[in-house]
C-alpha cells in the first residue's frame, strides 16, 4: 500500500515539474549570457553614437565630452584622488545606512508586532515621513555643523523610512494562516517571531533594505553637494565649478557603479535567502 502511494506522489510531482523536462535545451553558455548581452546593446549604442556626434562637432566638447575623453579622465582620477573620494563616500553611506536601516528595522519590528506600539508611534512616524527629507539639511547644519556627523545623520534619515515602511508592511502582510500554525503548537511570542514571523517577513524586509540603500546614495550626494571637502558629491560640484563636465560625468559613472554594486550585494543576499519563494519570473518572449 505504501509503495502504491509512493508511485502516486511521484506522478503528482512529475506533473508539477512536467514543464521543465519538455522542450529543447540550447547550449548552456550562450543561453546564460544572451540576456546579459542583450542588456549591453543599448548602452554600447549610446556610447558609440555620442562618440561620433562629439567627434564630428555636432555637440561642443566643453559641454558634452566624448566618452573616450571621460574614460581618460576617469583613468587620471584613478591614479590620484579618486580612491580618497570613493573611500570617504563609501564610509558615509555605509555608516548612515547601517544606522538608519538598523533603527528602522527595530522600530518596524516593534510597531509591526504590537498594536499598542503602533498606536503610540505610527502617527509620529507618519508625520515625520511627510517632511521631505532634504528639509532637514539646514537644521542638521545648524545643529551638527558641516562635518561628518550631519552627513551621516542625513543619510540615516533617508534610509530610515523606506526600510521602516516596508518592514511594517512586511510584518502586517504575513499570512494569518501560517501564524495560526504557530498558535496550534502553542509557540511563545519569541518562538513565533523566530520560526514564522521573521522568515515570512524577509521578502518585504529585503525590498525595504534595497530601496533604503538607493536612498542612502541619493542623500549622500545631496549632503556632499552642499558642504564637503572630499567625496564623490564634492567631485561633482568641483567639476561644475571648474567647468569640467568630464569630471562630473566620471563622478556620475562611479556613483552608478557603486550604487549597482551595493544593490547587487543586497540582491545576491536576497536571492540566497529567498530561494524558497514561488514567484513569477517574467515570460519568455
Amino acid at each position: 500500500m505504501s509503495s502504491n502511494s509512493n508511485d502516486l506522489a511521484r506522478k503528482e510531482l512529475s506533473g508539477a515539474l512536467g514543464l521543465s523536462t519538455s522542450g529543447s535545451t540550447p547550449p548552456l553558455n550562450l543561453a546564460r549570457w544572451r540576456p546579459r548581452l542583450k542588456g549591453l546593446v543599448l548602452p554600447a549604442l549610446i556610447i558609440v553614437v555620442l562618440e561620433i556626434i562629439v567627434r564630428i562637432g555636432w555637440l561642443p566638447s566643453y559641454q558634452m565630452p566624448a566618452p573616450s575623453e571621460i574614460a581618460l579622465t576617469l583613468g587620471d582620477l584613478a591614479e590620484g584622488a579618486l580612491w580618497k573620494h570613493i573611500g570617504a563616500s563609501l564610509l558615509r553611506v555605509l555608516l548612515g545606512f547601517a544606522i538608519g536601516a538598523g533603527l528602522a528595522l527595530l522600530f518596524a519590528a516593534w510597531v509591526g508586532l504590537s498594536r499598542e506600539a503602533e498606536a503610540y508611534l505610527e502617527p509620529t512616524f507618519a508625520g515625520l515621513r511627510s517632511i521631505p527629507s532634504l528639509a532637514w539639511v539646514p537644521l542638521l547644519l545648524l545643529w551638527l555643523g558641516i562635518d561628518e556627523t550631519s552627513k551621516v545623520v542625513l543619510i540615516a534619515i533617508g534610509a530610515f523610512f523606506p526600510v521602516y515602511l516596508n518592514g511594517v508592511a512586511a510584518i502586517r502582510n504575513i499570512d494569518r494562516k501560517l501564524v495560526e500554525v504557530g498558535d496550534m503548537y502553542g509557540f511563545s511570542r519569541r518562538r513565533l517571531v523566530r520560526r514564522i514571523l521573521l522568515p515570512a517577513a524577509l521578502p518585504g524586509l529585503f525590498t525595504g533594505l534595497r530601496s533604503g540603500m538607493s536612498l542612502a546614495w541619493m542623500f549622500l550626494v545631496a549632503a556632499e553637494l552642499i558642504a564637503a571637502t572630499k567625496g564623490l558629491g564634492y567631485l561633482l560640484s568641483d567639476g561644475r565649478e571648474t567647468s569640467r563636465p568630464d569630471i562630473v560625468l566620471a563622478a556620475i559613472i562611479v556613483l552608478a557603479v557603486l550604487g549597482k554594486l551595493s544593490d547587487g550585494l543586497l540582491a545576491g543576499l536576497e536571492k540566497r535567502f529567498l530561494a524558497w519563494r514561488d514567484t513569477f519570473n517574467g515570460q519568455g518572449s
Binding site: 500500500m1 505504501s2 502504491n4 502511494s5 509512493n6 508511485d7 502516486l8 506522489a9 511521484r10 503528482e12 510531482l13 506533473g15 508539477a16 515539474l17 494562516k177 501560517l178 495560526e180 500554525v181 498558535d183 496550534m184 503548537y185 518562538r191 520560526r195 514564522i196 522568515p199 515570512a200 524577509l202 529567498l274 530561494a275 524558497w276 519563494r277 514561488d278
Partner: protein, 237 residues
Amino acid sequence: MSQALLDIHVERKTFAATTVLNNIHLQLQPRETVSLLGPSGCGKSTLLRIIAGLEQDFEGQRLSDTGPLAFVFQEPRLMPWLTVEQNIGFSDDGQYDKTWVAQLIEEVGLAGFADALPKALSGGMAQRVAIARGLYSRPQVLLLDEPFSAVDAFTRMKLQELLLQLAERHAIALLLVTHDVDEALYLSDRVLVMDNRPSSIRQELAVSLEHPRDRRDPLLARLKALALTELQRAHVI
C-alpha cells in the same frame, strides 16, 4: 466503555449577534473516526477550532481532559521557506527527530522528497506533508478541517485511503469536518449531521462497516440517502 479522548459540551458560541453553535455535546472514543457533516458556514469549522483550543471564547465546558491532539488545516499551510523534512518536524524547531520524520515521509508516500521545498509540491503532496506534520507530535486525536476539499476527486480518494491507513497504524482517533457526504460515510464510524445556523447536531448516523470498505457498498448508499434527507430537512440543500 473506555475513557473518552474528547468530551466537550458547547452550550453556545456567538460571533457578534449571531449564534453559530447551539448546545452541542461531542464525544470521541479512542481509535474512533467521527465526521461532522454540514454545509459551509454552518459552524463546524468553528467547533473544530474550539476543540483545538484555537478558539477560547465560548460558553460550555470540556468534560474531560483532551488528549494530545494535532490539527490538519483545509490548506496545507506549510512554511514555504522550510523543506518537507523541516516542515514535518516544525514543532521541534531545529532539533527534530530525524528518524521519526524519515519514517513519516515514507508512510505518507513522499520518499525522496525530504529536501524538496513546498513550491515544488503539488496540492496533494503538500497535504500529505501537512498530515505527516500533524502526526509528528504523536497525537491521540487528529482534527481535520475539510482536509481534502482543495484536491481533485482521485487524489482525494487516495488521500482518504492514506488517512485511514495512518490512523490504523498509529492508533489515533480522527475528527473530521467535511461537506462531502461520501467522504464522511466512507471514513467514519459515526457521522454527525449538522443543522443549519445556529448549528447543533441534527442526527447521528452510525456506519457499521468494517475497514477496508467498498465505496460501492449498498449500506453506504442507503446512509447517503438518509443523510441527504436530513440535510434537506435542515434546509441546507
